[in-house]
């Protein structure tokens, strides 16, 4: 598994065409135009959630969130752009807290102990699922970290980005808001985006 920092350092635009990525350096947008794989059914995602030492382990399945928009974010603690994105994802989660959006972070190929130590200094506001054998990353065709895949309420992939995303951009919020199944919820989301109560998103 590669980290997108090296791609950016060596020219993300070059990687864009050749590796089939939709990455716009320095930070891409989670585009609703998800390319040839758009509207494919999202693969299953059933993984254990990272838990404190000694606590019961909880299995999380994306199917538990049917009818909601689900943002699946693949990351690893050694990946520098991944580390930079997590605080922005916290803010995204806060902005959409009252809306039917579920954010699932998937740590790829690391041991629990390392991830626990990492979140001591970088706490996150969403579950971290442990893809210890990289099976989920393969099933979701993730080859570069970070990678983010937005799944609509119908269980289909609606947008994705392999590489960093600027989660503070209004376009990103718009892309997510447009996916809510209910027009009322979408309207509520738009109002939240246009008139945030939680102060600036930066």
């Amino acid at each position: 598994m590669l980290c997108a920092s090296a791609l950016l350092a060596s020219g993300g635009a070059a990687a864009q065409g050749e590796a089939g990525l939709r990455l716009e350096p320095p930070h891409g947008v989670l585009s609703a135009d998800a390319g040839p794989s758009a509207l494919r059914a999202a693969p299953p995602l059933a993984l254990e959630m990272l838990a404190p030492v000694g606590a019961p382990v909880q299995q999380v399945d994306r199917a538990m969130f049917a009818g909601r928009v689900v943002l699946v974010h693949f990351f690893a603690t050694w990946c520098e752009p991944c580390r930079e994105e997590l605080p922005a994802l916290n803010r995204l989660a806060a902005r959409f807290a009252d809306l039917p959006l579920t954010l699932l972070a998937v740590d790829v190929g690391e041991v629990d102990a390392r991830v626990r130590r990492f979140i001591e200094t970088t706490p996150v506001a969403f579950p971290i699922l442990m893809d210890r054998e990289r099976l989920a990353a393969r099933a979701w065709d993730v080859s570069v970290l970070p990678a983010s895949i937005l799944v609509g309420p119908d269980g289909r992939v609606r947008a994705e980005a392999q590489g960093p995303v600027d989660w503070n951009r209004a376009e990103t919020d718009q892309t997510i808001a447009a996916l809510f199944a209910s027009a009322d919820v979408t309207r509520q989301a738009q109002e939240t985006i246009n008139h945030p109560s939680g102060g600036p998103t930066q």
């Binding site: 090296a6 590796a19 130590r117 990289r134 570069v144």
Partner: protein, 370 residues
């Protein structure tokens, strides 16, 4: 196009570089040759820290042992240990024969620890590929094993496509392997930021188009591309135990403390020659790390390493095993892609074998005479 880097016409770049004058580079010619055996004692000390405030739960550990055996260049001399573990036994990986010391401590043991002393004998290797060889063919079982895909080394998809492209037009085994070796040297790079020796997920490496990593990435990519060409190949996971007598600071252990000197090398089975030593990842290491650092591909030190490491290894390194996808006996955790680092589990689950704060181990290597 699979990566953004251009494919190299096999042999051309290498030949041009090899003709460069040696310049003022003063050191022994990098020319390992089978000769005297060297004997090493390697002491691995492991201390498993229990999670803060948690004294319950058993502790397990699995420590790789140098059990690789090739009579021409590597002879394991056995291992002994002292430990406060309740049980300690040597167990083998059923598929590849990798050996490890599996230990279990009771929940009451406050400070689980073990010290393992291993002895090995090794020497330089060199295979003369300019003359026909007479080595026996590889057995059917081994041929299947070392042509097969592993979890992280697939031999289809992008790996097969890349291999086919690199070896297009090559008629025989040596030419194909040479083309892949030169391609690795030309198109990959050693990434100093990679943790440990890397993960070795070669399909991800190729898909990303960014071919940076360390030995477990670059030599795994080499092995995968060679296997995809229908030629048996394997990674051998081990540890540098002594400085390079040929003056390469980057290709040796420059202290008795070799805790972070893990290194995997690769071998290719060529008809008539047997297992042939190779190490394109170390060519990239010379490029990045050999003083003064960041050498050009045409630097005489790089040129010499590139030439030599296609067919030769220096005997300053110890082999653990050539295993992949190793299940740790008694563990409920995932398989390890390769077994080169000690592993341990507590009530907190699998520990981070690269984190010295929670999982302390040290390895010391000393040469001795017999």
């Amino acid at each position: 196009m699979i990566t953004r880097r251009d494919f190299v016409v096999s042999g051309v770049a290498f030949s041009a570089a090899a003709m460069l004058p040696a310049g003022a580079w003063a050191q022994n010619a990098f020319a390992p040759q089978p000769g005297a055996w060297r004997n090493f004692q390697v002491v691995t000390r492991l201390e498993v820290a229990k999670p803060d405030g948690k004294t319950d739960g058993a502790v397990r550990a699995w420590v790789p042992l140098p059990a690789f055996s090739e009579d021409q260049w590597f002879r394991p001399g056995g291992s002994t240990w002292s430990t406060n573990a309740a049980t300690a036994e040597v167990v083998g990986d059923p598929r590849f024969g990798a050996q490890m010391l599996a230990l279990e401590w009771s929940a009451r043991e406050p400070a689980p620890s073990v010290e393992i002393t291993s002895k090995i004998a090794t020497r330089d290797r060199a295979v003369d590929l300019s003359k026909p060889g007479t080595a026996a063919p590889l057995g059917d079982k081994e041929r299947v094993m070392f042509l097969a895909a592993t979890d992280l080394i697939p031999t289809d998809g992008i790996v097969k496509q890349t291999s086919d492209k690199i070896t297009s037009g090559a008629k025989d085994e040596i030419t194909k392997v040479r083309a892949i070796y030169e391609w690795i040297v030309e198109n990959t790079y050693r990434n100093a930021a990679t943790r440990g020796c890397g993960v070795g997920d070669i399909a991800a490496l190729l898909k990303s188009g960014d071919l940076g990593g360390k030995c477990a990435d670059l030599n795994a990519l080499f092995v995968g591309l060679v296997r995809s060409a229908g030629i048996p190949a394997r990674d051998v996971y081990g540890l540098r135990v002594a400085p390079s007598k040929f003056g390469y600071k980057s290709l040796g252990a420059n202290s008795e403390v070799v805790t972070k000197a893990q290194h995997c090398r690769s071998e290719v089975f060529l008809s008539g020659y047997g297992w042939v030593p190779m190490d394109p990842a170390d060519v990239r290491k010379v490029v990045l790390e050999e003083p003064p650092g960041k050498l050009g591909i045409d630097d005489p030190k790089v040129v010499a390493a590139r030439k030599t490491l296609f067919g030769a290894w220096e005997g300053n390194w110890m082999a653990y095993n050539a295993a992949h996808d190793v299940a740790l006996p008694g563990s409920k955790g995932p398989k390890v892609g390769f077994l080169m680092y000690p592993q341990a589990e507590t009530v907190a689950g699998r520990l981070d074998c690269l984190d010295p704060d929670t999982f302390r181990y040290s390895i010391r290597a000393t040469e001795f005479s017999v």
